[in-house]
Symmetry: none
Subunit: 212 residues, 4 copies
Amino acid sequence: MSIESAETRLRLLETATQVFAEHGYATTTIRMICGRAKVNVAAVNYHFGSKEHLYREVLRYARQRAYEKYPLTYGLEEGATPEQRLRAFVHSFLLRNFGDVRNLGFGTLTMREMVEPTSALDMIVDEGIRSLFEHLVAIVRAILGEDADEELVQACSRSTIGQCTFYLFSRTVMNRMAPEQQFGAEDVERITDQIMLFTLHALRGLSGKKTD
Amino acid sequence: MSIESAETRLRLLETATQVFAEHGYATTTIRMICGRAKVNVAAVNYHFGSKEHLYREVLRYARQRAYEKYPLTYGLEEGATPEQRLRAFVHSFLLRNFGDVRNLGFGTLTMREMVEPTSALDMIVDEGIRSLFEHLVAIVRAILGEDADEELVQACSRSTIGQCTFYLFSRTVMNRMAPEQQFGAEDVERITDQIMLFTLHALRGLSGKKTD
Amino acid sequence: MSIESAETRLRLLETATQVFAEHGYATTTIRMICGRAKVNVAAVNYHFGSKEHLYREVLRYARQRAYEKYPLTYGLEEGATPEQRLRAFVHSFLLRNFGDVRNLGFGTLTMREMVEPTSALDMIVDEGIRSLFEHLVAIVRAILGEDADEELVQACSRSTIGQCTFYLFSRTVMNRMAPEQQFGAEDVERITDQIMLFTLHALRGLSGKKTD
Amino acid sequence: MSIESAETRLRLLETATQVFAEHGYATTTIRMICGRAKVNVAAVNYHFGSKEHLYREVLRYARQRAYEKYPLTYGLEEGATPEQRLRAFVHSFLLRNFGDVRNLGFGTLTMREMVEPTSALDMIVDEGIRSLFEHLVAIVRAILGEDADEELVQACSRSTIGQCTFYLFSRTVMNRMAPEQQFGAEDVERITDQIMLFTLHALRGLSGKKTD
DNA sequence: AATGAATGAGCCTTCATTCAT
DNA sequence: GATGAATGAAGGCTCATTCAT
């Protein structure tokens, strides 16, 4: 593969990430992408085979870049406590999904795929979401205690991640309800604190009941 | 308007609710709807003017029916405590959004609209979500105490509703991750309990800190 | 189906017959057909579903019209001799396939399909060619004698129909070799005589050998 | 031209012969040919200028090879009788056109060109078919007698070659009608016999009438 | 000399919409 | 009032060809 080829491919990938994130798979047209990337409409089929293949590559590309920058253990040191690991989880989740303009695509793409699944959702689940959730479950279990009821652990994990995803999914609604208070990259720290505050009180409360 | 006309209109509305909920606005075609409703392809434009107008009517129609059946105070008696009112909120939210096959459309449609807003989102926010959220905020404030910090009240409200919406937004993913454990109408009670358990521990913890 | 619909459908069918005969399936575009038929490009898909379906309908339509006008027993009276029936076969074959400007399509379409088969060839064979050939075989058997060797009967049938098809397949070449002697509708009688002369001498010779 | 260049050119020619014969001019894509020949897509235009030029070269190449291997006088000795020369004509025709897998292309290509002429048909006629037919006419005249009516000679020649071409043109149909009896290289001898039997009886009968 | 990359024209098909009854 | 027929715009994709190295 020549240098130009790789460049064009990458430009298509970057552009497509934005356009797919903005309009969704169905509404996005190849001509939109190629127009913005300043390449011929045939370029997509040449480099990726089809619109669908391009889309899958975009999903992979966005995820990879997001996790590279903000891994699940973002900012964590060796021997961190479960609470610290939970905070890193929440913090990196928010950063990954909308903490950075350049990574904006990832959260939106995943969200769209969850709401209006294409054949790519299986890939997303298998290559990302499953291990993400299992990572969280392990932390929650550590906090609740290893002998905590499994169903409780699962439910608390859902409650925890649900608080995080809310800021992603309801962004459009929140912006309309309180336009003066747009959630953005600069709010990530504060939101992290709030989610941690809420969650730790809940988990400690539930953990306490067990040990008593 | 003749009786047949009204019937056709209604049948279109019902069918369109299902089809839009299943496929989303962009992917749904007028022929899908008319085919399933067994009416002429021109019927949509005749009765509703355009695909978009039909869609807006569908949103209105689905919301109205959902709230009629499951109001925010569902199952609540006079003089209920804040905790009871919170439970009614969570319970009715889950029922309204996916507690009933006939109402399945509402939650899915709202969710889609949040992720990929059309001009109808303003309507949805103004006519439903805003008051829904304010209702929740009032309950949370009552639990945390009237002198609780407003930002804390807001954050806790988001954490609370985020747990609820999670079951809606992540349905497709959860089904793929644990196919044997599909969340449905029969799980609403249990999920309500779990969310309440988590949330009340959090709120009580936060409330306790204040009074201390 | 309204009258206009039937008219449009028929016009498309007639036009498509000509265009497919002129250019072949692959080279023909829907725009060629619709342009000549003065209808929108979407009309083909509306009335026939696809280019391929239209093509199959064209093949059926052309065959039906050709056989209606020139059946295998064209000009034949009751109690005709095998020789007379053979002459009717050859004569009607030539007339059907290029004896008439209006029927020009049928022969050309069949010929094209034989040389460059599409999925429609099976249909052509099953619905037309098979019975055509069996009809000929029966006549040849009657001339050669009922106890004639089956392989001989088959071979002679092939030799007979091969003479007929030659005038169809080699038309383009003959026109180039002897432009002054174009084979057309006015030559059908003479060609029929020539084929009959050749064939009857052959069959009688082969038949004579048997009886001796 | 370097050696590799000549090799690539030849490989393209060989491959293209097969592909054009299999799919026809219109349906064949340059990528099919280059893919099978394991060369770059630009190679066709580089070595031959265009798809059409390649096609013409293929026709020339296939004809040349076919006639080299099976000339019109294939297997004939000096002083052969007209009947022997006729047999050599028929025999070599069949061998040339589908007697050999390696030569399969020639018959099919010529046939396709006859049914859907390109500008290459003139070349084919001028450089091959015309002399082929004149060769046959001379033989037929010799058998019928030098004073035979010219029109009769021509007609008998057409009837003779028509029997031969039939096995080429109707191959796809015969295979569908009697799949167990595929005509191939191993049947050439038998078919030659059958055509000769039929034709000689016809010609002798017609010749006899003259002399009587 | 030879190739991978890129192009623009064109194809079939689909769609929401409008027309004419 | 209601419908089958028809439309034009657009979409994804394919192709022979050309460009730039």
